[in-house]
Symmetry: C2
Subunit: 428 residues, 2 copies
Amino acid sequence: MTSTLAPSGIDTATSPARALVCRACSARYPLAAQHACYECFGPLEVDYDLSALATVTREQIEAGPRNLWRYAALLPVGQDPATRVTLDPGFTPLVAADRLAAELGITAALWVKDDSANPSHSFKDRVVSVALTAARALGFSRFACASTGNLANSVAAHAARVGTPSVVFIPSDLEQGKIVTTAVYDGDLVAIDGSYDDVNRLCGELVETDEFEDTAFVNVNVRPYYAEGSKTLGYEVAEQLGWRIPAQVVIPMASGELLTKIDKAFSELVEIGLVEAPADGWKVFGAQSTGCNPIATALHTGTDAITPVKPTGIAKSLNIGDPAAGLYALEAVRRTGGWMDHADDDEIRAGVRLLARTTGVFAETAGGVTVAVLRKLVESGRLDPTAETVVFNTGDGLKTLDAVAGEVGPTHRIKPSLRAARDAGLLS
Amino acid sequence: MTSTLAPSGIDTATSPARALVCRACSARYPLAAQHACYECFGPLEVDYDLSALATVTREQIEAGPRNLWRYAALLPVGQDPATRVTLDPGFTPLVAADRLAAELGITAALWVKDDSANPSHSFKDRVVSVALTAARALGFSRFACASTGNLANSVAAHAARVGTPSVVFIPSDLEQGKIVTTAVYDGDLVAIDGSYDDVNRLCGELVETDEFEDTAFVNVNVRPYYAEGSKTLGYEVAEQLGWRIPAQVVIPMASGELLTKIDKAFSELVEIGLVEAPADGWKVFGAQSTGCNPIATALHTGTDAITPVKPTGIAKSLNIGDPAAGLYALEAVRRTGGWMDHADDDEIRAGVRLLARTTGVFAETAGGVTVAVLRKLVESGRLDPTAETVVFNTGDGLKTLDAVAGEVGPTHRIKPSLRAARDAGLLS
């Protein structure tokens, strides 16, 4: 492998990570660039030395930087700040949503974890910072991804920050905002005439070629590290609530990975003694778009067989028709007593507008999905309106302006005179 | 005045503010909703009890929240968190721009203060949080502004967060991103067929009507409080540099107010003993768009007479043809030995792209202006490339996508196959 970055591997003297382990058959592998089990093709995840994690204290974390690296001792890489490839995302606002709660008939505390506040304005900065820090440690000299848009923005921005070449693969029908916001960083940007699932398949082939041997695809060959970044959303919610796990969380689902990692974060915090296990546990709820709802459909029909779909609809960042972590999302929701539901495009737009009007948070369509599903879960009685709830907004409304541009606009248009203002009813 | 917010006035037991004082004739007024001197029509600013400010310590500030309210003891309002009308902006990243420096031939440290990281993605969240906190204290029950776009976004978002009605006035030709991002919050949004200066004049008339007696126009009747919010940008830069003032700062100019307030912040920090005065002082540089450069033109022609212009060009957030604080900006630049320059639309676009490519920061056009002017200042020898410099990015590229959308895009477009990737040269 050629590399312009010093290859060093992952230093287990500072990292609590010990191995990659298969989520299906528990086979173990070294901490390398590998994402599927050689035995059973199951997905791999990072396995930690629990005794190392158990030494971490609240005080250590609270004394850390105001970003996701405050949890470095719980992550596979990045313990040494000099090794990080990062825009320093994380520690995004947990916004009290009292008026949203009132409109939905929720009487307990309702919070919006607003990850649009990350540097490239989506939660993807978290997974990219961890994945690319691992990629650099593993000696890769080019960064890549298959993306529905937000990941593209984040990989291109991270690559620009550190001056490393990037090549990003997207479906050619993405929102213009996400295309421009990737292209402006001046890396290679490859538009594919196909769905995200086509893009992902192609990247799975490219990663095996000699020409891409120097390239880390954040969500392919370094995916186990990538996925760990999502856990920081769960850690932050618990810390921001005063080291407490909320009774209910509502999480958007694309691959389903984010949902499983937030659940895993809560479990880890309990296991290593940083929070007390809530007496009644916590319930995990998943939100999909009606145009791409294979995981929710599997739950509703009571099966473990997730049937891939061809995605449609405006929530493009969630349009993964063949969700890699779908089974694990089903497991987490069933185990915790949660539920899943889905929202159509009109409901998504209404969700975006409801969230904006009641909280001042302008979410992209994925956030509209989550708010619309929150409403359905309350109406169907699946979610307890008397229990504390956190909903996750994973991206920024500025990236999906077209979704609401046809519905909102100036309420008045006048000439610049007091008389025109009076005629328009502004002085009545 | 009718008010749904408890009128309380500004509490001088907790606030260090003592009066409003005329910047022209030094006449003094009570801390009320007033923006012009009754004696000479000069602009008013907040005057403080210096002995109160002098008790503030670095340790107090560092123990505060990770947002602009860490400086509450240096602001006119908001000492009690319960009184704040705020999205909690501030403490945005100070990004090391080593590769940008290298491209421009700057050999000293170069930093980008990236205020696109604020909640509504521009520095305006700072001024709005302070203005609306003052507005609530003064008993106003509706929030308003005249805006070139970013201020509109921020006022509408703040109003939605606290559930107060808003009415926002904008030129009808604004970027779509800024219109949608204001309208989505569901307040009144009045598009005016005219320039920003027309919008501003109309707001100056409306504020005098009975029907708007309950309305705080953040940049009209509560402008003195509003302007103080900008000082926090200067405080933060000094704190983030380890309580040190940089040798040179490059600041975009619309009204010119931001530049004067950053300079004022540095002076205050020295005056109250929080930082040492640099031996050689600091130099303040101003950046305008060539399509709207009345302040830079006055400097270049050596006059104090700022001739209003009819603005043109893509840097719409800077398009104030009759800049209210232009004279004070001239004074600050002359006093400190700085300079001003301006950049045309092509240079602005190149500035946006250069900043993105070298730092991972995607700025709106105003940031492109600043980077383009930085380049000119180095080339003309006005700015010392061997002295530490901070440039200010005041807004987010997602808000002005059209400016670069015609120039950047996918580098490749292919079908989803390895063969297509090979044919496109991606495997060579």
